[in-house]
């Protein structure tokens, strides 16, 4: 690591003691940031400095740090996962910033995503939506014969695209209505597109939408900020699919949403 291109950053970070605290933006100056470090490594560096100074380090969510688990979050300069397209915060590198830049770092904000501490939010609401129907019941036992259930290649591709959702919540964070439609529609679609998902399809879409509404997410206004900020590039065509699946389930299905 050459030391001649190290950067100094002016950080504005949301600090909040706990879920009851009202919180505020706090200014920090961090020197010696390598352009090769990731955004989270930059925060690690800040925290080491804070710990050395006897200050409470900044709490933030992360796990795999390779863009696949969906645990990292953060609004960076007003954008979910920062400025780079189809990139999670953990995969964002400091070379995207310039020496002397001001970087505003906030938690994802939504009524359904309460802040636990600093930049850490509780995204358990997504788990509740999955538990409401985002699964298939299958018989365990011997593995079925390969190709015993035929699936058109195009459907398999679409299902895989929907299944790329890592459930990070960037869609909710970037939506002006804090709507969870992109997440829920991806989780509905990945199963609805496959034969194995058909049995419970009507029940699933109704239950997952009902749970989403109950948890206090907003309504979709078809702005597509979710798609634009999704690190996995999930398409809003999934939302249209969920809309028509819901409508058809409401009209024709014996299954009803759980009250």
């Amino acid at each position: 690591m050459s030391s001649d291109n190290l950067m100094t950053l002016n950080l504005k970070i949301w600090r909040q003691q706990n879920s009851k605290d009202s919180g505020k933006i706090q200014d920090y100056v961090l020197e010696g940031v390598s352009p090769d470090s990731s955004f989270l490594e930059m925060l690690d560096q800040l925290n080491e400095k804070l710990i050395a100074e006897g200050i409470d380090p900044v709490s933030f969510d992360h796990d795999c740090r390779e863009g696949i688990c969906g645990m990292c979050s953060l609004m960076i300069n007003g954008q979910a996962h920062g400025p780079e397209r189809e990139t999670t915060t953990c995969q964002l590198h400091m070379r995207k910033f310039n020496d002397g830049d001001t970087v505003v770092i906030e938690p994802f904000r939504a009524r359904a995503f309460p802040v636990l501490k600093d930049l850490m939010v509780d995204r358990g609401a997504f788990d509740e939506i999955i538990a409401a129907g985002g699964f298939t019941n299958v018989n365990t036992g011997n593995a079925p014969d390969a190709n015993s259930i035929l699936i058109p290649q195009s459907d398999a591709e679409l299902a895989m695209d929907a299944a790329a959702c890592i459930g990070c919540g960037a869609c909710v964070a970037s939506c002006k209505n804090a709507s969870a439609m992109l997440f829920v529609s991806a989780k509905v679609s990945q199963l609805a597109l496959l034969p194995q998902g058909q049995v419970e399809a009507d029940q699933r879409v109704q239950n997952m939408v009902a749970k989403m509404d109950e948890l206090g997410f907003g309504n979709c206004t078809n702005e597509a900020e979710c798609e634009a900020s999704c690190p996995k590039g999930i398409s809003i065509s999934n939302i249209a699919r969920m809309n028509r699946d819901y409508l058809s389930a409401a009209v024709k299905s014996k299954a009803e949403p759980k009250a």
């Binding site: 504005k12 949301w14 933006i25 609004m75 300069n77 007003g78 954008q79 397209r85 505003v104 906030e106 904000r109 939504a110 009524r111 359904a112 802040v115 970037s174 002006k176 209505n177 804090a178 709507s179 939408v209 009902a210 989403m212 509404d213 206090g216 997410f217 907003g218 309504n219 979709c220 206004t221 078809n222 702005e223 597509a224 900020e225 979710c226 798609e227 634009a228 900020s229 809003i236 065509s237 939302i239 249209a240 699919r241 969920m242 809309n243 028509r244 699946d245 819901y246 409508l247 409401a250 009803e256 949403p257 009250a259």
Partner: protein, 224 residues
């Protein structure tokens, strides 16, 4: 049974679908109203005869009631959805930036353009439907000279300007709304997605320009 229907009508997805259907019906109303307006270019008699035929038919009350119901549903749900959406994020961001790849000016101003249309609508009804009544004779029958009401109203440049502004707002509302309604109802396919967005914008331009032409024509027509 009724309670089941209520469960569905409370669902976010269904509320948006009712918005979509009422919005599209209003788009249909815009088209028929615009075609009626075009009779002004044919002449005062054609315009007045058409207006008379509409208002003298008893079925107009049924049509008006249905239209009012569509408007009230659209507006009522617009308010409900917008309030719910504001509640979904109680603490605002310190800094929020659009990606530049999603939201458009039209999509992010739907509640504001909608509100402007509502204000316009009320003023519009006061000025014309419940506006000054002049009478004229066509083929010996006494009919309302709505042509005169309209032309006189548009002698004021301020009235023309307000009308033009409101119609631009309407165009903006519909340019997002038309496509959005199809998305809400579940129409989305690579085959026609681009076409649908294009049609939405074209429709908005036709509607806005179509309506804007009338006050300008009347203004230029002068006091005749």
């Amino acid at each position: 049974m009724a309670s089941k229907l209520c469960t569905y009508l409370k669902a976010s997805v269904v509320k948006k679908q009712v918005m979509a259907v009422t919005g599209l019906l209003l788009c249909g109303f815009l088209v028929s109203h615009l075609i009626g307006n075009c009779l002004i270019y044919v002449g005062s008699d054609a315009f007045n005869t058409y207006a008379h035929a509409l208002t003298s038919n008893k079925l107009i009350y049924v049509a008006e009631a249905i239209l009012a119901a569509i408007f009230f549903t659209h507006i009522g749900l617009a308010i409900k959805l917008t309030v719910e959406n504001k509640k979904a994020r109680p603490v605002q961001y310190y800094m929020k930036q659009k990606t530049g790849r999603g939201a458009t000016f039209a999509s992010s101003t739907m509640p504001y353009t909608g509100m402007l249309i509502l204000v316009f609508l009320i003023i519009h009804l006061i000025n014309f439907k419940f506006g000054p009544v002049y009478m004229t004779q066509i083929d010996g029958i006494e009919v309302r000279d709505l042509h005169k009401t309209v032309v006189l109203y548009f002698q004021s440049p301020l009235n023309v300007l307000w009308y033009v502004i409101a119609m631009i707002a309407l165009g903006i509302h519909v340019s997002h709304g038309f496509w959005s309604a199809f998305q809400s109802l579940g129409f989305s396919h690579p085959k026609y997605n681009c076409g649908l967005k294009l049609i939405s914008k074209l429709f908005a331009v036709v509607i806005a320009l179509g309506y804007i032409a009338l006050p300008i024509y009347c203004y230029l027509l002068g006091g005749k």
